[in-house]
């Protein structure tokens, strides 16, 4: 989908479907790098797309490619989830992702979750970083964005992203990678 078309996903179901199919896999993987519960992951996947629908009309193509934009939204959604209770969120959700899961889906979601255990360990280990640095580092280290894409996702300048990345790496180098590259923190999720 071209950046120019993105605004249409807010009101054109066909445009939305194209957008959804393009990004649903990446969004789910993004989510399970951060949460370990299949039901919460399903909720958050739905939330990310709902947030994208809400945000699309104000999307500006200068903000960069849609993929990076989606990651910025996903990050906000997941961060918000950690700041408040799931109950609060679900009371307002238009679509409850978890209600759409059947047992097979849960198993598949669990497989995704298992595959991303290491990423979640890294994610948990980032808790001590300043928020700005953490945001950039997450997107680059966990989600394979380039620093420039991470900057787009976060609405910051590329040079700022690089500086933050540099600082995050410097402060993490000791705590995260000293023990033969093995993160010591456990996966998170509540």
């Amino acid at each position: 989908m071209e950046p120019d078309e993105l605004a249409r996903i807010a009101h054109d179901p066909a445009a939305f479907e194209a957008f959804y199919r393009e990004h649903v896999e990446a969004v789910q993987r993004f989510v399970v790098r951060r949460v370990a519960d299949p039901h919460v992951a399903a909720d958050l996947t739905a939330d990310v797309f709902l947030a994208a629908i809400d945000a699309a009309p104000s999307y500006q193509s200068g903000r960069g490619v849609p993929a990076a934009w989606v990651f910025g939204i996903a990050r906000n959604v997941v961060s918000a989830e950690h700041r408040r209770s799931g109950r609060e969120r679900r009371a307002r959700a238009q679509v409850e992702g978890r209600r759409l899961l059947d047992p097979d889906d849960v198993a598949r979601m669990q497989d995704r979750i298992d595959a991303e255990a290491r990423a979640r360990a890294v994610y948990a280990a980032l808790a001590g970083l300043p928020e700005g640095e953490r945001a950039v580092f997450e997107l680059v280290a966990l989600d394979d964005l380039t620093p420039a894409e991470a900057a787009t996702a976060l609405g910051i300048r590329a040079v700022t992203a690089r500086v933050r990345l540099h600082r995050a790496r410097a402060s993490l180098r000791g705590q995260l990678f000293d023990d033969d590259a093995r993160p010591t923190t456990q996966p998170m999720e509540a």
């Binding site: 649903v24 709902l50 104000s58 097979d104 598949r108 300048r157």
Partner: protein, 221 residues
């Protein structure tokens, strides 16, 4: 990796319904400029003098010193985080099509005329010049990349125009944008600092090296 058609499809149907139920879009889109950039063109200084204005907070960290980015419209945006690699910035800009001359050496002696009171008193330069003691310093450009330093550049070789851009700062970095397409043959883009701090970076476009005001100039022609 593969999204088999289950949860994903059910979710899609629900979300499609959400989209379909939304009110029709307004035609007018809200516009929110994300960054204000002040560019003053045609600062018609008859003499060679090019004023350079600067805004900023200071931050002389030692991380990636600068970034040069070509924009889709042909302009080149520059962010300067620290004054540590003038040569590298100059090289980057030239390879991006900007005939730049970058000189971070503060030089109070080159002050042509004192400008208004220095803008950021809290950021003394590292060049040992207090307050207004700094100046736009330039090197000679073009093929001979020597950064000559003269005590007091003569202001009088009547250059035709100077375009001045106010450098803005975000997060301690000086940022500005140059459109090489607007340069005339012979123009150079001078990037200098009046105090030796990022807060005092200025950019001027002129055919010959401009003589700086000693302090951030008021944005008046």
């Amino acid at each position: 990796m593969t999204a088999s058609p289950r949860f994903e499809d059910r979710l899609l149907q629900q979300l499609r319904q959400v989209v379909a139920d939304r009110p029709a879009p307004r035609v007018a889109q809200r516009r929110r400029p994300r960054r204000t950039r002040l560019a003053l063109t045609g600062v018609g200084v008859a003499a060679a003098a090019a004023a350079v204005a600067v805004v900023a907070t200071s931050n002389d960290g030692s991380h990636s010193a600068y970034a040069v980015q070509a924009q889709a419209d042909g302009a080149v945006s520059v962010s300067i985080h620290s004054l540590s690699d003038a040569e590298g910035l100059q090289r980057s800009l030239r390879s991006a099509g900007v005939p730049a001359v970058v000189d971070y050496v503060p030089d109070a002696s080159a002050c042509a005329a004192p400008g208004p009171p220095a803008a950021s008193p809290g950021t003394p330069g590292m060049g040992g010049t207090a307050e207004r003691g700094a100046t736009l310093r330039t090197g000679t450009a073009g093929s001979g990349p020597r950064l000559s330093q003269e005590g007091k550049p003569p202001p009088g070789d009547g250059q035709r125009r100077t375009t001045m851009s106010v450098v803005s700062t975000r997060g301690g970095d000086a940022t500005f944008t140059i459109d090489p397409g607007t340069l005339k043959p012979g123009d150079k883009v001078y990037i200098t600092t009046s105090t030796g701090a990022v807060s005092s970076i200025g950019m001027a476009i002129a055919a010959h090296k401009p003589t700086a005001a000693c302090a951030p100039a008021a944005p008046t022609p």
